[in-house]
Amino acid sequence: MDAEKNAPKLTRRTFSSCAAAAAAGWLLTACGPRRLHEFPKERLRKSIAELERQYSERHGAKVTVSTASAQPGVEFAYALDLSRCIGCRRCVYACVKENNQSRNPQLHWIKVLSMEKEKGVDLAHADPYYQPAQVPEEGHFYVPVSCQQCRNAPCTKVCPTGATWTERDGIVVIDYDWCIGCRYCMAACPYGARHFNWTEPSVPEGELNTSTHYLGNRPRPKGVVEKCTFCIQRVRAGRYPACVEVCPVGARKFGNLLDKDSEIRYIIEHKRVFVLKKDLNTVPRFFYFYAT
């Protein structure tokens, strides 16, 4: 007993103080911001300035990176009139240009599926590579698919690092600096809306859209996932997404779901709208309808 008392030993107090200190240290470091959108304003401004400098240097043009955040009272939604769409794919290429998607290899956020009128909306018989001399083809209709900005998004739930999340205005975004490229979100997405940079993306000299947003169309590195953001750099500045603007037949509608007088509300209330893969309960903010 005596020997035990005299020997230098680890008392319960020393042990618990050490443990408490370690736990406190862990918590302190663990609480620090990691993803860009968690940064304090000052630090975010510095990081963004650094990004702008890097991009401008690399692309030989003045690149701006916006950090505009979601407006209160805004929740964006999209509606697409399948009876109007002619399958011209102008939206696909307008999107590529606006959002600085890779040209080689080609990466498209919008995929237009050609379907047979006889079969209806049937993905098992859809053709994404239709290449006729002229569209629309007899007996066919077209279903453009991009990110459905789900309210119950399977992709954000599975991300192991929390590198993707839903913003307050309903846009599902990715932090390209935090994504580890595990592609779990791609396996989880029921709409094939997420795309991976399998190699270094390339945008030819002079073709870069220099007006960017840090959660949207800023240049991406290889090895990360990207997707449609409803053109976050435009819609948060009060403009329409590029695909809405370019559509020659006015099949694409966009607006604020919380605004009672918006066109999107009119469509949802007066047309028979549907969503893709309703049984999966993803609750998309992207609606399809037949206006005529």
Partner: protein
């Protein structure tokens, strides 16, 4: 012994252990060196292929947006099963206190450690930004727990690795000191490792199971089927390893133990086949649009038939393995036993690697069929990862076998109070032990006893 000396003693012992282990690892028969050289070639080739992949991007693989996971993740899934099953042998050993199997538990644990190591490497080679792997590790990173099942998997795999590592090193360290292991530490940890083994495989099944976007995976039979197939493949590897050990070292294992494991494998294989059959029945009889994925695996879709030969080889191999293990005469015959082991290993490897991942993603979410087949780069990287795993396993066995046989021990308290001069002699002798002829082995054994 004065207590103030204990630290230096420990350090001295550790160095002796390290030196002795080094000696053990660096000495071996020609086949041992050929095996190491073979592994080294695979590792170098894999490293070169991986360097190319890091430089160019994952475009060097056959994976694309349509099939975004492939060979790497397939191997990962298979190896989680191996890791889980290696330790499940602990159940009969401890619950029924059946000594013949108990002796191999330590080897099961070493196999589990190597398998988990390979799992983690397969995930690392699959991710697009391996430089950012620390984003997963709090406090520096941010683990999306409990939302993401991948976060759960990271946790349980590492915990399982830790438990096995602690148990294996503790048992070996104590054996090295010629002392019995501390029951109060080992028994709870071993008991913990049983539900953990089930947990790692269940969580890995849930990784896929939880994705409503992929009907082929979104079936509640997935986790039980994962466990059943794992209980076939894990022991299959272990049975072959045990026979190799018995052939090349003084390690003894009763035939009965091997036969008993083969019998358990027959039951597991039956369950595996049954669950596959149940799933196939549901898919084919209800004949919904979800049947596409199962059809792609078993019969192909139109001209897309790449995986069909693999599907039927897996079925054939599994049935052969079941037949060989369920017939007592066949599982007691060494040739048919080993054919059964190889058939199990190959069958489960195919169905759980390619057979799980690829049909799950083909056709893709929008109905497009992209036929995935791994590129040479993927095969080389995967072979490299396997080689690293086998190298680690080999080296661990090379040290662990002599320790658990009492051939390689610290000699502070030699059994018969040998003099210091003799100690060194005996130590060297023990190191050389595994190389001796059988006659010499008998002599040595007699002398040690």
């Amino acid at each position: 012994m004065p207590p103030d000396n204990s630290v230096t003693t420990t350090i001295r012992l550790f160095f002796r252990f390290a030196r002795g282990s080094g000696g053990l690892v660096l000495r071996g028969p020609r086949t041992y060196w050929l095996w190491l050289a073979f592994l080294a070639v695979l590792i170098v080739s894999g490293a070169a292929a991986y360097a190319d992949q890091v430089r160019t991007g994952l475009v060097v693989s056959a994976m694309r947006d349509q099939v975004s996971w492939g060979f790497y993740i397939g191997n990962f899934t298979f190896l989680v099963g191996v890791a889980a099953a290696a330790v499940v042998l602990v159940i009969p050993a401890y619950i029924y206190d059946w000594k013949p199997i108990r002796e191999m538990v330590i080897y099961g644990e070493l196999l589990a450690i190597s398998a988990i190591l390979m799992c983690l490497m397969f995930v690392l080679v699959d991710i697009g930004r391996p430089d950012r792997f620390w984003h997963l590790i709090p406090p520096w990173g941010r683990l999306n727990f409990p939302q993401s099942i991948l976060a759960w998997d990271v946790l349980v795999l590492n915990l399982y690795f830790l438990v096995n590592f602690v148990v294996a090193t503790h048992i070996l360290y104590r054996a090295f000191h010629g002392r019995p292991y501390v029951k109060r530490l080992v028994v709870p940890l071993v008991l913990l490792s049983i539900p953990m083994a089930v947990a790692i495989h269940t969580v890995t099944a849930f990784l896929y199971n939880g994705l409503a976007a992929r009907p082929y995976w979104n079936s509640s039979i997935l986790a039980p089927q994962f466990l059943a197939s794992a209980f076939c493949s894990g022991p299959a590897i272990l049975l072959i390893v045990l026979q190799v050990l018995r052939r090349f070292t003084r390690f003894e294992i009763q035939d009965q133990a091997i036969w008993k494991i083969a019998e358990l494998m027959a039951y597991a294989m039956f369950l595996n086949l049954f669950l596959h059959g149940a799933e196939a029945f549901k898919e084919f009889y209800s004949d919904t649009e979800h049947l596409l994925f199962t059809r792609y695996w078993y019969s192909g879709l139109g001209e897309h038939r790449t995986l069909v030969p693999y599907a039927w080889s897996a079925v054939g191999l599994n049935v052969i393995a079941f037949a060989l293990f369920i017939v007592p005469a066949a599982r007691r015959h060494w040739v048919t036993l080993n054919i059964g082991c190889l058939a199990t290993y190959a069958g489960v490897y195919i169905e759980k690697g390619m057979g799980l991942i690829i049909p799950g993603l083909t056709p893709d979410a929008l109905g497009e069929i992209y036929e995935y087949y791994p590129t040479l780069t993927e095969l080389r990287v995967a072979a490299g990862v396997f080689a690293v795993g086998f190298l680690v396993f080999t080296v661990m066995l090379k040290v662990a076998v002599p320790i658990s046989l009492g051939e390689f021990t610290e000699t502070e308290n030699p059994p018969r109070g040998a003099l210091p001069a003799l100690e060194a002699d005996r130590n060297v002798h023990a190191v050389a032990f595994t190389r001796g002829s059988s006659a010499q082995r008998m002599q040595d054994a007699a002398r040690l006893n």
